[in-house]
């Protein structure tokens, strides 16, 4: 009998089975988990929310499309969910009255400066959405700190004229500008009621107000093992620990742990920004350190920095620490002692 080569047999190497989750699935899961939060933004801020989110996503997707077109062989695909996620996350951190062209530029900058210049998906050092936000904060400080009121009566029928400002014109600042819970607390000494903070009935960025909802969506992702729950847990833990001590010292100057957790961008930042796998550590121990660092820094910036909100900068700073954390938390190899572990 001659040796018969079977014509259809594929020769590859093991493994021949594969866990079904792939990178694009993971990113779509996060997008999916953000839907209720986007819906809440629509509920509280009306048409403005819808328009800003659309502008941010369009900005990010256009830039991604342009980059993928221009540089052939650039990693990633337009529909892998990552550009959409970046654009949406960015939009959720923007004030509801921001001119749409700024949201669009922010989305484009997130992808361009936050991701593409590093070499695309997986190579970026900083969370792209936060890079976009930091850019907008620096370039348009006024627009980034003008807060229309929450739940205004006509929110579903009309949108603030500031949204439609032309590029590089000073936007007409709306009369009905209001204070966010953080600025009210730190600059005016007024505390928002906790139940409003929990359900999100406060002014602030589009997606950061509904604290409880964010927590629920995060729990979904943790259960589906899409993100590392250790990071938000470490952030919450360190924030609670630090602010509770401070609160004991002087409740007048230092707000309670509950306030810190649910006011401003803390929830959104902890659950959706800090957990970006690309910019967080690879080791479990590293994730605890990373999260604790974010929590401490956010509180420090809020209490003693010049800004009311510190979560964004805390995440970006810890993003920069990630390679270092990885290096020093590399696990020992099975069957070796701790001193033999890699520490180069």
């Amino acid at each position: 009998m001659m040796s018969r080569e079977h014509p259809d047999l594929l020769l590859t190497t093991s493994p021949f089975v594969k866990d079904p989750a792939d990178a694009s699935w993971i990113m779509w899961q996060v997008n999916f988990a953000l839907m209720p939060i986007a819906a809440a933004a629509f509920w509280y801020f009306g048409l403005a929310a819808l328009l800003v989110m659309t502008a941010g996503i369009l900005g990010a997707m256009s830039m991604e499309f342009a980059v993928l077109k221009m540089a052939s062989g650039f990693p990633g695909k337009i529909l892998d969910g990552s550009a959409l996620l970046t654009g949406l996350l960015l939009a959720l951190t923007l004030p509801p009255g921001i001119p749409l062209w700024m949201a669009f530029v922010g989305g484009a900058v997130s992808i361009g400066l936050g991701k593409a210049v590093f070499g695309g998906v997986g190579s970026n050092m900083f969370n792209p959405a936060l890079v976009g936000r930091a850019f907008l904060q620096a370039a348009f400080p006024v627009a980034m700190t003008s807060w229309p009121a929450v739940s205004s009566a006509d929110r579903f029928v009309s949108a603030s004229s500031s949204l439609f400002a032309f590029p590089f014109m000073t936007p007409t600042v709306d009369g009905i500008s209001s204070a966010t819970p953080l600025s009210a607390r730190f600059f005016d000494g007024v505390s928002a009621p906790l139940q409003d903070l929990l359900i999100g009935n406060t002014s602030g960025s589009l997606g950061e107000t509904a604290g409880l909802l964010i927590l629920v969506c995060g729990a979904y992702l943790a259960i589906r093992r899409v993100f590392n729950w250790r990071i938000p847990l470490a952030i919450f833990g360190s924030v609670i620990l630090l602010t509770s001590i401070l609160y004991q010292i002087d409740p007048e100057i230092y707000p309670s742990a509950g306030f810190h957790l649910f006011a401003g961008g803390m929830m959104l930042g902890a659950v959706f920004m800090a957990t970006d796998p690309v910019t967080s550590p690879l080791t479990q121990k590293g994730c605890w350190i990373f999260g604790a660092g974010i929590g401490v820094m956010a509180v420090v910036i809020r209490q003693w920095g010049g800004l009311p909100e510190g979560v964004m900068y805390a995440v970006l700073l810890m993003n920069a620490m990630t390679p270092l954390i990885d290096r020093f938390t590399q696990a020992r190899t099975f069957g070796s002692t701790r001193s033999e572990r890699f520490t180069r």
Binding site: M1, S14, A21, I26, F334, G335
Partner: protein
């Protein structure tokens, strides 16, 4: 010292949970494959020095007769799997993809295929050394897949001691059921084998390690342990790679084999349950290693089965017995889906190390489209030896093989758990195999150079 004292389910850390697909052949008792018209017996089927054939074309051989001789200590002989006439000695496809020397035997249609030299070997009156020699002459190798000569494993190096013997019946690879069937159907041979091993090793206690998806077999074994046999059944968590020696030892005895060392360095010897049953049968009726249990399974085979197959049987004969393959079969593997080898030819022979043959249809074939690493930690959490596959993968991609040594690449046991979980479909273990091969070659070359200089 009860292994189940600390954990509810003994196991190791990390690892993965692939779908197990065991139901395809789980409840199919071992059937004996009828002797084929001819067999192709590769002379070397083990790790170590190749053996050399001692028969010539035209010669009549009996079933169980020696046909290939070991050529050193780390080597293993080969016996005729059936009575017949040696047709030729030629180069033939080997499941590894190479061509190797093989003896072709045409079956004697008139022979009843009784065993050559059937006898009971009284190990109780033999010394440890004599027992180990007998196992070596029987051509026994690890039947779990690696095919390392058993007599070498049983020979304890000077100054070391074996206190524990673990029977590896974890069978953590998906699809495979040969170990499970052996537990259920060859219990007495397993216990006889354990007695022989304990005496040969001078060990004080034996453990049978199996996974919780074989709980019925674990119970069956536990109930049958003879009262005078210091043996215990440990039911471990169903998790891949639970059957890797180091993981098994961690689960059963809570000991970590030091990096770069062998189980014997923590006073343990591990052997596959098929080997143990085979050794039991060697001493019960003198049968050398000439046949083995193979799980024939997967969506691509018409009738999945657990078969007792003479070593050297061509895959095509096995396929014919199982009613053929489905038209959309795209991959045929020797071994399990995590560590097996894809085959190109249907006339490759079943080997001593072939625990299963898996037929995958088009819809089960993994199509990979590589994406950049998104640093999701899944590989880090999967690696049973705590490496950082993400980092190693990046270094291998950049061909920085030397740097991989700093990240302990040589501790990688190529279990493929990292590739299995990677959502970016990065061929991690595939790259590690290449890297390790190159690094080993380089090491060998340096050793040569040093030798030449001194």
């Amino acid at each position: 010292m009860n292994a189940r004292f600390f954990h509810t389910t003994p196991s190791f850390k990390h690892g993965v949970h692939p779908d197990d697909y065991k139901h395809l052949t789980r409840d199919r008792p071992i059937e004996r494959l009828p002797f084929p018209d001819s067999v192709v017996v590769p002379i070397s089927q083990h790790l170590g020095r190749p053996s050399k054939p001692i028969v010539s074309p035209g010669q009549y051989v009996y079933r169980g007769q020696l046909i290939g001789e070991a050529t050193g200590f780390v080597s293993s002989p080969m016996h005729a799997p059936m009575s017949g006439v040696v047709r030729e000695i030629m180069l033939h496809h080997h499941p590894s993809g190479n061509m190797t020397e093989a003896v072709v035997i045409d079956r004697d249609p008139l022979s009843a295929q009784t065993l050559f030299g059937e006898r009971r070997i009284d190990w109780r009156s033999m010394s440890a050394k004599e027992i180990i020699d007998e196992i070596g002459i029987g051509g026994f190798v690890g039947l779990g897949g690696a095919a390392f000569p058993t007599h070498v494993k049983l020979t304890i190096p000077e100054g070391k001691k074996a206190r524990f013997f673990i029977v590896n019946a974890a069978e953590c690879e998906p699809y495979l059921n040969s170990d499970y069937r052996i537990l259920l159907e060859k219990r007495e041979a397993v216990f006889e084998g354990i007695r022989v091993y304990l005496k040969a090793l001078g060990a004080e206690r034996a453990y049978i390690g199996t996974e919780s998806n074989k709980a019925d077999a674990a119970r069956f074994m536990r109930e049958g342990i003879p009262s005078d046999l210091p043996c215990e059944v440990v039911e471990m968590e169903t998790k891949y790679p639970q059957g890797a020696e180091k993981m098994l030892i961690e689960a059963v005895l809570h000991k970590e084999v030091p990096s770069g060392k062998l189980p014997i360095d923590v006073e343990v010897v591990v052997n596959n349950v098929g080997t143990v049953a085979g050794v039991g049968e060697l001493f019960l009726f003198g049968q050398p290693l000439i046949e083995r249990v193979v799980t024939i399974t997967g969506p691509g085979i018409k009738t999945p089965a657990n078969l007792m197959i003479p070593i050297g049987t061509r895959l095509s004969d096995v396929v014919a017995y199982c009613d053929g393959i489905m038209d959309n079969t795209r991959q045929i593997l020797f071994g399990g889906p995590m560590m097996g080898t894809a085959q190109r030819f249907l006339d490759v022979p079943i080997m001593k190390g072939t625990s299963g043959v898996l037929f995958l249809t088009e819809d089960k074939v993994v199509h990979r489209e590589e994406y950049p690493c998104i640093r999701c930690q899944r590989c880090v959490d999967a690696c049973p030896v705590y490496l950082n596959p993400s980092r190693l993968g990046a270094l291998a991609g950049a061909r920085l093989y030397e740097d991989m040594l700093d990240y302990h690449i040589m501790d990688c046991m190529e279990c493929a758990a990292c590739s299995f979980v990677c959502p970016s479909n990065i061929p991690l273990v595939q790259r590690f195999r290449v890297a390790k091969g190159l690094l080993r070659e380089q090491q060998a070359r340096e050793n040569e150079k040093q030798k030449a200089q001194s």
